[in-house]
Symmetry: C2
Subunit: 608 residues, 2 copies
């Protein structure tokens, strides 16, 4: 029987608690002579997935969406979320307690600038607000004639009686055969960066950076093997790693002790003070490090160097072992996808979106290697497919109907690699419009897959290659074309991206998604997503520039029934047929007998 173990489908919202909890929070504010507070869905590490004990917005309001902030003043309370969650927010929170505002078009800073009373003090948690975030808050409060006040002790936690405990998942060592580079070598490279930038030390506040540097993995948040932890990396001397000792087996502790001074998180503040004293320059990533760290450094007489965490770029460029790992993971994951797509073709009609998620997860688990899914699957049939970040629940789950499109975006966490794939599948006979628009999306996908560009080119420069075919038809999609992907780490990883905001150069070894789409509201959604590896491209005769391009890593059939071959150029058609030959050759030995014959026809060549 199919089963989803890593994903749930219930709705946990309870709007009824909002009024009482906001009243209690206001009482706490009043006690401290504060006039308001901002509460964001953030932990100290700005993790994408946060532990239950950090779900303050949900606890306060009932709202469970991932993009969320609350501002409470004496007479107003506002929940901010984005367009994906507007409807959900209306259902999950008490409209008598909260107004709902748009996180992007009317962000908290703008709302505060307009609504904070003159002379008022707005509290924020300096551990859960980044350096950039505090700067925005301060400007907003100043525009209103008020001020932003850091309050170290989180005021929500004071009233949250049954707050869950901090997670204590065991740390594991990430095998060198997967990591491909020793911690010693990584630290040596980081130190070179510190020396170049004339820095005395680097603070790693992002657990993904800690995990990469120390070749460790954890399990403190959902879908990403992160160990919640900090590290201080001085230019000289032993790095310090701050992690709850209860997460460490004797073996892991012994291994780590060779690389770092292993300390408890409660010592972090004192050690950071120590590391900064004597005027030392310490790098903080202003977009993700807590403002509190800057306060500690400055109080110690150190200087804060705001800039990118150098581990971000290092981690983004995968080494040979990581690339070999991801190839193995993609073969395994592709076989599970093929088994799933075969099942879907034969038995999908009439099944529910939830049943599809359970089936796919089951095929992935049957590989025997699945550690987790890499994010909650987006499983949208018909109009649900048009909701870009759709999360299926018992309440929203639709049955797959004939003449509809079904979009499924999912991925797996394997020790050797992280996957992320979207396929859009015709259930029954698709309309001409569906096929034409699918083919436009496919042309964009192929344009990225085949793109060739000089070293140093950024993702922003090539993003429009994926959109041009849709643009010509007056269509577009309202999301980036690709995001960086970690190596048994976060499925969303900076700094590389293919998007108008993607300023990082695309370097050989970087791994990204290629996922153009098209969404017809109320009707259907289309997305075709493969992961790609940035590779050196063989230079043509007389080339003056070193060229790079992409190798497609993901292996799974693209639904041929949705392709209009006459709309493809010869080069595009060649790409698709070549890709399907690779898919068949790679997956055929790994799939079930039933899938094998299906795979042959699902990857047969098309001609126009």
């Amino acid at each position: 029987m199919f089963e989803a173990k890593f994903q749930t489908f219930e709705e946990t919202a309870d709007p009824s608690m909002g009024a009482g909890r906001i009243a209690k929070l206001r009482a706490e504010l009043k006690k401290r002579d504060l006039d308001g507070i901002i509460v964001t869905r953030a932990d100290r590490h700005q993790n994408e997935y946060v532990p239950a004990c950090e779900e303050r917005v949900a606890w306060l309001s009932g709202f469970t969406g991932s993009a969320a902030a609350i501002v409470v003043l004496a007479d107003k309370a506002v929940l901010f979320t984005d367009g994906r969650y507007t409807l959900q927010a209306k259902e999950q929170v008490d409209g008598k307690v909260f107004a709902i505002e748009h996180l992007v078009t009317r962000p908290p800073a703008d709302w505060i600038a307009d609504n904070l009373p003159t002379g008022a003090s707005l509290a924020y948690d300096p551990w859960r607000t980044t350096l950039d975030g505090v700067e925005r808050l301060q400007k907003a409060c100043a525009r209103a004639g008020g001020k932003a006040v850091p309050v170290d002790e989180n005021l929500v936690d004071i009233i949250w009686q049954d707050r869950p405990a901090e997670p204590l998942a065991k740390l594991v060592l990430h095998d060198l055969k997967f990591a491909g580079e020793t911690t010693a070598a990584k630290i040596a490279r980081i130190r070179e960066e510190l020396a170049k930038a004339k820095l005395d030390a680097l603070v790693l506040s992002d657990p993904a950076s800690v995990a990469w540097t120390f070749n460790i993995r954890g399990g403190d948040v959902a879908h990403t093997p992160l160990p919640i932890s900090w590290s201080i990396l001085p230019r000289e001397g032993m790095p310090a790693l701050f992690v709850d000792g209860r997460k460490l087996s004797n073996e892991v502790r012994a291994a780590l002790a060779k690389l770092a001074d292993v300390r408890e998180p409660r010592d972090f503040e004192v050690e950071l003070h120590e590391a900064a004293s004597g005027g030392r320059a310490i790098r903080l990533d202003q977009g993700s490090a807590p403002r509190k760290l800057a306060d500690i450094i400055e109080a110690a007489g150190g200087s804060v160097s705001k800039g990118a965490d150098p581990v971000m770029r290092m981690k983004a460029v995968k080494n040979a072992a990581e690339i070999a790992g991801t190839r193995a993971a993609h073969l395994r994951d592709g076989a599970a996808m093929a088994n799933f797509l075969c099942w879907l073709d034969r038995e999908g009609l009439g099944k529910s979106e939830i049943e599809a998620v359970a089936a796919l997860e089951t095929f992935r688990r049957e590989t025997g290697k699945l550690k987790d899914i890499s994010f909650p699957s987006i499983s949208g049939s018909g109009p649900n497919g048009a909701i870009v970040h759709y999360r299926v629940t018992e309440k929203t789950s639709r049955k797959l109907g004939t003449g509809e499109l079904f979009l499924i975006d999912s991925g797996g966490q394997y020790e050797d690699g992280t996957t992320d794939i979207t396929r859009t599948v015709a259930i029954g006979k698709p309309s001409d419009e569906m096929r034409e628009r699918f083919t436009l999306v496919l042309k964009g996908h192929i344009a990225i897959a085949r793109a060739v560009f000089p070293e140093g080119t950024s993702g922003a420069q090539i993003d429009a290659f994926a959109r041009a075919p849709l643009w010509a038809a007056g269509l577009d999609y309202d999301h980036g074309t690709g995001h960086g992907v970690g190596s048994y780490l976060s499925v969303h990883e900076g700094p590389a991206r293919i998007s108008k905001l993607g300023s990082a150069a695309l370097e050989p070894g970087m791994m990204l998604s290629n996922e153009p789409g098209y969404y017809k509201t109320g009707a259907y959604g289309i997305r075709i997503e493969n992961l790609v590896l940035v590779t050196s491209h063989e230079a043509p005769k007389d080339a003056e520039k070193k060229l790079v391009g992409f190798e497609t890593l993901t292996l799974a059939p693209i639904d041929r029934r949705l392709v209009v071959p006459a709309m493809l150029s010869a080069a595009e058609l060649n790409w698709l047929n070549d890709y399907h030959r690779r898919v068949a050759a790679g997956l055929s030995p790994l799939v079930s007998t039933a899938t094998k014959s299906w795979l042959a026809s699902a990857t047969a060549a098309l001609s126009n």
Copy 2:
């Protein structure tokens, strides 16, 4: 006889004066207890072309390049310029006095951070340094443990005995038939912007913004009809216009007095203080306004709102009269270009680069409408064509040789419009490589000309369309694809551009250049430049987005002998043939009899 009246070809450098002048400057610094100074090639308005009295870098060092700064310390003096001018700088300055550094890879701020002694004070002119510029300087000095000190009185001017007078070119009213919108209507629109941004006033520090707003033109700098002036535009009440009264005829003064309080520039400081007092919020463009203005506003108790000059965007979107004007200017200019290109084909071989410039300017003057050229023509034969910002001098001028390419980039200022065009022409028989690379550049040019994209798309998003054909061959060009162009104003105008830095949305009515190129160092240069107008594109059936695209404004043959038709797709070939049909139809009635038959064959259809 052909003659260049608007452009000179001499080299005016005199390296011998550097040592004495720097010694005098050091004495002035010492008198004031200052340890160093930065001198940039900038006037108070950050004009692209500056009057002779602002050429402090040239006077101090001998260096006449347009990108230049000097830093003088007690024991070091450095001239900064960019890659275009490195060789020229070595010839024009005394190497015993000045080290030469690269303005881009080793900018003054970095050099200062590394070289300013601890505790030292570095002087800057707050009238000739922007808000952003001062921020960079302050950071650099702080990194060195020193400080940046504003010195209002320019220290170079104190020692510059025979400094030329400020220019006093007469102001003229820009006829409403060319401007298309009254000053009253423009001011009303600016006030709406001020209200939206909750501002009390706007300072126009860019003379182009003043010229556009008040429908005036001047002649204080070369090649751009700018009136050096300031304006303070309050949200309510009469605007103030600060312009030297000697530039005003009675008639112009009377016309302006209906629109603004016309004041002398010496009153500007006091009036700005007045406008800012009482806590008023005043917008300054931080990238172009002098830091001094912020100091005045803050001293008066006002607040500085840093942000874009809203006139920049308004001015960039041309109205119907301006568009009609530019079409007329492009027909006239195209006819002059055709006469020139015909002459070049028949008589160019063996002529010099300077003779070519003189011929082209003469054909333009013969239109009877030429006010000025819009920038010094770039006239490069053979290897000189590969120097992107080449300026021909008596010393560098080459004869046009057979088997070579000749690149000429030029433009005219007419009352109804500003033009900018580059053509690359085969002298004798071109090599296969030249034709192949020309065709790659042409494919990029056509990709921009034919591009279609949703409203709101920026130039950064489409820049790579022009590069993709070159990229595939391992080639590229090291400049943007297009810049905004003014309406009888600056030939380089923000905010729109087609470049990886072009973040402004391309809106219908904006006018830009489309100028991809390819440069083979030491051999030849290729550039194909037309001006284009952003236009609404007719929406295809079922379009969901409003689309925009480009209409090509420039009319002049593209050298067919350099095109390899087999390398063009059917759509590209159609574009070229359609374009040439438009060129022939538009220009044929306007050119000389000799040119007319030449034009027919120069625009004949190609097939593959």
